[in-house]
C-alpha cells in the first residue's frame, strides 16, 4: 500500500533506500504505539511525497492506513544511507523478496533514468504475492520465483540467478541478511573479488528508535560486530559488511 502525504515545505531530495520516521499517534502526548515507524519513499515531488507501507499488519501502519485524508502526521526524514548507483550505470541486477520490492521501486526508476539495463529477480511465496510484469516499466527484464511454484519458477531468489553469472555490473538487493553471505559467494564464483559498491543490500530489519541508539536494527557482520540499519544503512555495502 502507498501513503500519499503533503508536506509543509518542498521535500528534501532523497535517494532510493533512504527512509522517513513517522509517529503513529494522533497527538504528540499519546504514546501508543510508542516507537516511530520507518517508511520508504517511493515517489513524489514538490510538497507531495508517496510512502510505501511495507508492514500492513503492524499496529502503527494500520493506524496510518485508517487515517482520514487531511490529518496531520509527524514525519522526519529523509534519513539513513540510500543506494549509490554506479556511473555509468551498466547492467543493474535488482534482487527483491516479498514486500521489499516497494522500497526498491525507486531504485529501479533511478537505474533506468541513469541509462542502465535493469533485470529484476523477484521471489515471493506464491502467485498471489507476486508482482505482475505489467506493473513494471517495459524495459525491465523480469524473473519470478515462488516458493510453491504457482508462478514463475519454483525456488528461492538464487534459483533466478542461473545464467546471470557474468551479467551484472552492480547488484542492488532487498533480501534478508541471512542470504547475504551466499550472495557474496555467488558473486565471487564469477568475479575475481567483491569490490566496494558492487553489491548493495537494503536491510529491512525492524527499527526501534531510528537514531542508532537502541540497536534493535543491528545487522550482525560475519566477523562479529554489528551495523545499525537505521544510521549506517539501511543500504549496506556487501563488501564493507563482510570485510574483516
Amino acid at each position: 500500500m502507498i501513503l500519499h502525504v503533503q508536506v509543509e515545505e518542498p521535500v528534501t531530495p532523497w535517494t532510493a533506500g533512504q527512509f522517513y520516521l513517522v509517529r503513529c499517534t494522533p497527538s504528540p502526548d499519546l504514546w501508543d504505539p510508542y516507537l516511530p515507524r520507518r517508511l520508504f519513499p517511493i515517489g513524489g515531488h514538490g510538497c507531495n511525497l508517496s510512502l510505501w507501507l511495507d508492514a500492513p499488519e503492524d499496529r502503527g501502519v494500520r493506524w496510518l492506513i485508517n487515517l482520514p485524508p487531511g490529518v496531520a502526521i509527524d514525519l522526519i526524514g529523509p534519513r539513513g544511507r540510500g543506494f549509490d548507483l554506479a556511473n555509468p550505470a551498466g547492467n543493474v541486477l535488482v534482487l527483491a523478496e516479498g514486500l521489499a520490492i516497494g522500497a526498491l521501486w525507486p531504485t529501479i526508476r533511478a537505474a533506468l533514468d541513469a541509462g542502465a539495463q535493469v533485470l529484476l529477480a523477484y521471489a515471493a511465496g506464491s502467485a498471489e504475492e507476486a508482482i505482475l510484469p505489467s506493473w513494471l516499466p517495459p524495459s525491465v527484464e523480469y524473473r519470478l520465483a515462488t516458493t510453491d511454484g504457482t508462478a514463475g519458477v519454483q525456488g528461492d531468489i538464487f534459483t533466478l540467478l542461473h545464467g546471470l553469472e557474468r551479467w551484472p555490473d552492480q547488484i542492488l538487493a532487498g533480501i534478508p541478511p541471512s542470504a547475504w553471505l551466499r550472495l557474496a559467494a555467488w558473486i565471487e564464483q564469477w568475479r575475481p573479488r567483491l569490490t566496494p559498491g558492487m553489491a548493495q543490500m537494503l536491510s529491512l530489519t525492524p527499527i526501534g528508535c531510528g537514531y542508532g541508539a537502541c540497536r534493535r536494527c543491528a545487522v550482525e557482520r560475519p566477523e562479529g560486530h554489528a551495523i545499525r540499519s537505521c544510521v549506517d544503512g539501511p543500504v549496506i555495502d556487501l563488501y564493507a559488511w563482510r570485510r574483516r
Binding site: 516511530p36 526501534g208 537502541c214 554489528a226 545499525r228
Partner: protein
C-alpha cells in the same frame, strides 16, 4: 533565562564538583556513545550518560531486542557493546566535539569497574562516573561496589537506585558508601514477548514508569540526605519535570522520551523558566 540561571551543582561535596549548565540530563544509552543523536542541538542538555562501559564487550554483534508494549517498550539489557579500550579509541574523540559533559556508566566485575573509574580521570569530557548496581546485588552488595569505585574515582560519583519498595534504604546505604548524587531510579525490570513469542527480559521504558519514580523520589527526598537527587525513569512531559523539581530533585533525566520527542529538553527548560518567572 540566562545560562547561569540554569546551572545546577550535582556534586557539592566532591572536590571537583559537577556544575552543569542545565538540570536536564540524558539517561544511559539514549544517544548511544554520543554517535546516535535524535537532535543536533544538545545545548539544552546538562550532561549525558554513556551505555554501560566494561573492560570487555558482551554483545557487539547481535541486535538488542526491543519489544513494544502499549505505551512503552521493554528493552533488553545486553551489557557493553564496545569494550573500554574500544570506547576510548572510537568514541572518546567524539565527546569533545559534542561539547556536553559525559557521565560514564560502569559495568562488569567490581574490580574492573573500579579500574575503569580510575582511568576515567584522564578523560576530560567525562565529568562524572555512574554506578548502576543491579537489584540482585542487594543493598549491601551495592554498597561494596560503590565503596570500591569511590576509592578509585576522582570524579563525582552518581549512583542509580532501583525503583522498588526499599529505594529509600538503598539511598541511605549509597550515600554512606560515598555517592555524590543519587539517581532515582533505574527503569524497572520487566519482561515481554517478542513477535516470535520468545520472552525478552529487560527494563521497562515509557510514561507508565513515571509514577514509580515519583513514589521513590518522595521517599528518598523525605530522608533529607544532603545529596542532590536526579529524577529518572518515565519522564515524558515537561510538567513531569516540574513535579520532580517540586519534590526535591535537582535535575531530571530523560530516557527513551528523547527518541520520540527530541525537543523535550528544550520544552522542559521553557516551562521551568515560565514557572520561575510567574
Amino acid at each position: 533565562m540566562s545560562a547561569r540561571d540554569r546551572c545546577v551543582e550535582l556534586a557539592p561535596h566532591s572536590k571537583s564538583g559537577l556544575l552543569l549548565e542545565s538540570p536536564v540530563l540524558l539517561a544511559s544509552g539514549m544517544i548511544g556513545y554520543g554517535d546516535a543523536l535524535p537532535t543536533d542541538d544538545l545545548s539544552f542538555i546538562g550532561a549525558w550518560m554513556t551505555p554501560p562501559i566494561g573492560m570487555r564487550s558482551h554483545a557487539s554483534g547481535r541486535p538488542r531486542r526491543v519489544v513494544e508494549i502499549p505505551g512503552g517498550i521493554v528493552w533488553e539489557e545486553s551489557g557493553p557493546w564496545v569494550s573500554f579500550p574500544g570506547v576510548l579509541r572510537r568514541y572518546a574523540p567524539l565527546w569533545d566535539r559534542l561539547g556536553r559533559p559525559v557521565l560514564a556508566r560502569l559495568w562488569g566485575p567490581f574490580d574492573e569497574q573500579a579500574e575503569i573509574a580510575a582511568q576515567m580521570t584522564q578523560i576530560a569530557p567525562v565529568a562524572g562516573i555512574a554506578v548502576t548496581p543491579d537489584e540482585q546485588l542487594g543493598a549491601d552488595g551495592a554498597a561494596e561496589l560503590i565503596r570500591l569505585v569511590r576509592r578509585q574515582a576522582e570524579k563525582p560519583l552518581l549512583v542509580a537506585l532501583p525503583l522498588a519498595s526499599d529505594t529509600a534504604d538503598w539511598a541511605i546505604i549509597a550515600r554512606e558508601a560515598g555517592a555524590d548524587a543519587l539517581i532515582v531510579g533505574m527503569p524497572p525490570l520487566a519482561q515481554a514477548r517478542d513477535e516470535d513469542g520468545s520472552p525478552v527480559p529487560g527494563r521497562l521504558y515509557g510514561p507508565a514508569v513515571w509514577p514509580l519514580t515519583m513514589r521513590a523520589l518522595s521517599a528518598v527526598s523525605g530522608l533529607e540526605l544532603d545529596v542532590p537527587l536526579v529524577a529518572a525513569g518515565g519522564l515524558h512531559r515537561p510538567e513531569d519535570a516540574l513535579e520532580a523539581f517540586r519534590l526535591g530533585a535537582s535535575a531530571v533525566m530523560i530516557d527513551t522520551a528523547i527518541w520520540v520527542i527530541p525537543d523535550l529538553p528544550e520544552r522542559i527548560l521553557r516551562l521551568w523558566e515560565d514557572e520561575r518567572n510567574a
